[in-house]
């Protein structure tokens, strides 16, 4: 186990720069999730960490050692690939023991460690099978087993759950988190799924277009997004954004589209009339007499909660209620955002105000 320091790392393919100076400190034993839309550079960064891609500039250190010019096999890391990359011609046991065999470990040692990893991952009855004879979830576990037999400094996961069906993904998510709690090995996990990021991470790094938008604990990112991108990326259903102007003369309010009035707890200083974006999460709406007028378009009950799509000031918003209101399309209701929980972003820069 060890810490990982990524300092001002850049990556170019030819003249095209995909990472524009990324700095991420990772503490020993931390579970860090790199999350972002596809093309944001998160997988490239992970592959640079693994040594599968060169580092154009900046440094990556594992422990106290700068690994820029260290061969992948000498970095003491293990990686779980998106397609698992299991060796199809080797049994589960051979797949898991391959790295130990290459290192010249004794057969006894290999058997012992493979057996222990198989027990942790409930793979013991499958050790003599070939990858083709396994289900997706089992292959996923073999890939993790291959990583844990080595007892590496750092685990790297590259979208490991994206090939699984929805139910299995939820189960494996828990399994990976549990495994981390048990082994406490520093882990860097790449995904595009913010739910995975929220549920598993000690620290989330939100990336977008080759830069880090924000990093922090899942709840920090949820409660205090630094900018509109993070606000929209974290949380499901996504945060509602309404464009308008801040009014701070007298009672602070926000004048939304078509003059709709929305409450603010306090207005930022010297912000009267400033164009801004008003952000409110779907779960922070209540039905109240002093709310903004809204017309219901679609009602989607999921059982535990109900998602309501409505028009506020001509803009579509989504609200989520745990109570079972009787709504019908076309109904007029009054939606009130909780002023303590709304977010204001600068319209031009997208930064939090």
């Amino acid at each position: 186990m060890s810490s990982v320091q990524i300092r001002d790392v850049r990556k170019s393919f030819g003249n095209f720069e995909v990472l524009h100076g990324v700095t991420i400190p990772i503490e020993d034993g931390q579970f860090v999730v790199l999350v972002g839309p596809s093309g944001c550079g998160k997988s490239t960064l992970l592959r640079m960490l693994a040594g599968l891609e060169n580092i154009t500039s900046g440094t990556i250190s594992i422990g106290d050692r700068v690994v820029n010019n260290v061969q992948p096999k000498e970095r003491d890391i293990a990686m779980v690939f998106q397609n698992y990359a299991l060796y199809p011609h080797m049994t589960v046991a051979d797949n898991m023991g391959f790295s130990l065999k290459l290192r010249g470990a004794s057969t006894d040692e290999i058997n012992k460690r493979v057996k222990r990893a198989a027990e942790i991952l409930a793979l013991s009855p499958l050790l003599e099978r070939y990858p083709r004879q396994l289900s997706g979830g089992q292959r996923q576990r073999v890939a993790m087993g291959r990583a844990i037999v080595r007892d590496p400094q750092v685990f790297l996961f590259d979208e490991p759950l994206s090939n699984l069906d929805a139910k299995l993904r939820v189960a494996m998510r828990t399994e990976i988190k549990e495994l981390h709690q048990r082994l406490k090995t520093t882990t860097v996990y790449v995904t595009h799924d913010q739910i995975e990021a929220m549920t598993m991470a000690d620290k989330i790094v939100v990336m977008h277009d080759g830069i880090v938008e924000q990093m922090g604990t899942p709840l920090e990112l949820y409660d205090k997004p630094d900018n509109q991108f993070v606000a929209g990326f974290i949380g499901s259903p996504a945060m509602n954004f309404l464009k308008g102007h801040v009014r701070s003369n007298g009672v602070a309010t926000f004048e939304g589209p078509n003059g709709v009035k929305l409450p603010l707890k306090t207005a930022p200083t010297a912000s009267d009339g400033r164009p801004a974006v008003y952000g409110v999460r779907p779960e922070h709406f209540t039905i109240a007499d002093d709310g903004a007028e809204a017309e219901i378009i679609v009602v989607e009950p999921t059982g535990s909660e109900t998602q309501v799509f409505a028009k506020v000031g001509g803009e579509q918003v989504v609200a989520v209620f745990r109570e079972r209101h009787q709504f019908n399309p076309g109904d007029k209701v009054r939606l009130k955002p909780d002023p303590a929980l709304v977010h204001l972003f600068d319209e031009a820069t997208g930064k939090r105000m």
């Binding site: 693994a50 040594g51 599968l52 992948p72 096999k73 890391i77 293990a78 990686m79 690939f81 397609n83 990359a85 060796y87 199809p88 011609h89 080797m90 391959f98 790295s99 290459l102 290192r103 099978r129 070939y130 990858p131 083709r132 004879q133 291959r146 080595r150």
Partner: protein, 314 residues
Amino acid sequence: MAVLAEPVAEVTRSSLWSRAFESRNFLGAMFMVPAIATLILFLAYPLALGFWLGMTDTKIGGAGRYIGFENFVSLAKDSVFWLSVFNTIFYTVTASIVKFAIGLYLALLLNERLPFKSMIRAIVLLPFVVPTVLSAIAFWWIYDSQFSIISWVLIKAGLITRYIDFLGDPWNARWSVVVANIWRGVPFVAITLLAGLQTISPSLYEAANLDGATNLQRFRHITLPMLSPIIAVVMTFSVLMTFTDFQLIYTITRGGPINATHLMATLSFQRAITGGNLGEGAAISNAMIPFLVAAILLSFFGLQRSRWQQGGRD
């Protein structure tokens, strides 16, 4: 009554006909007729005729009669026949081994990131594209006793003093035709193995890299096992094609000098067509069959899918 009976009979006949066409089995059989006819006409019949001719003393222009295994008995005492058997085996074994080695090397090379990759691939395919007889004539010139470019270059370089007699000396001639066959056969092996290499997922190499494998270990533990099914197919085809080779030899040496490069195929042709002894020639051809069957059986068992390739759950 008689007037009425006829149309009734007509109706039964036509309904029998149309009922036949509604039957799955009959229709299935009808669809197979073209394929079966082609196979019988162009494969089974010539093969059977060849077997039959091998048992007769047919000469060109004569009817011939059944003589049992007499052709084979006389061949067994014929030193030229045994020389051709030796030549064929030598030719097949050496050429196939070298073709495999060079082909695999080229395939590995072409699988790397190279400048002008597609152009190099096209060049590698060239020997395969040129008609065999044409390339054979080119080799004939290269090996010519007076105009050989190899001899000329070596003399100019001061390495030898006399022109090499490529096709006049038995062993020189054997190696010369082997080289020509290798040149001709490498592209097939290389391109097919390259296709096989490209089916291996790059992430397997990355995983092996992280697992600590050196280049050699990656080749030995990933490339070779993953490529083995394709190697089996390619080498079966390569062996079969080399064993039955005719064009190259016949154009370059015609089996000479003193039968030193006669393969079974060329000897068969010479005895049957040039010499007119159809029966004897057919017998030589038939003698190739056990070797070919052995090669096919070997590859059949080699080709059986190994356990890791089989899908499903047990």
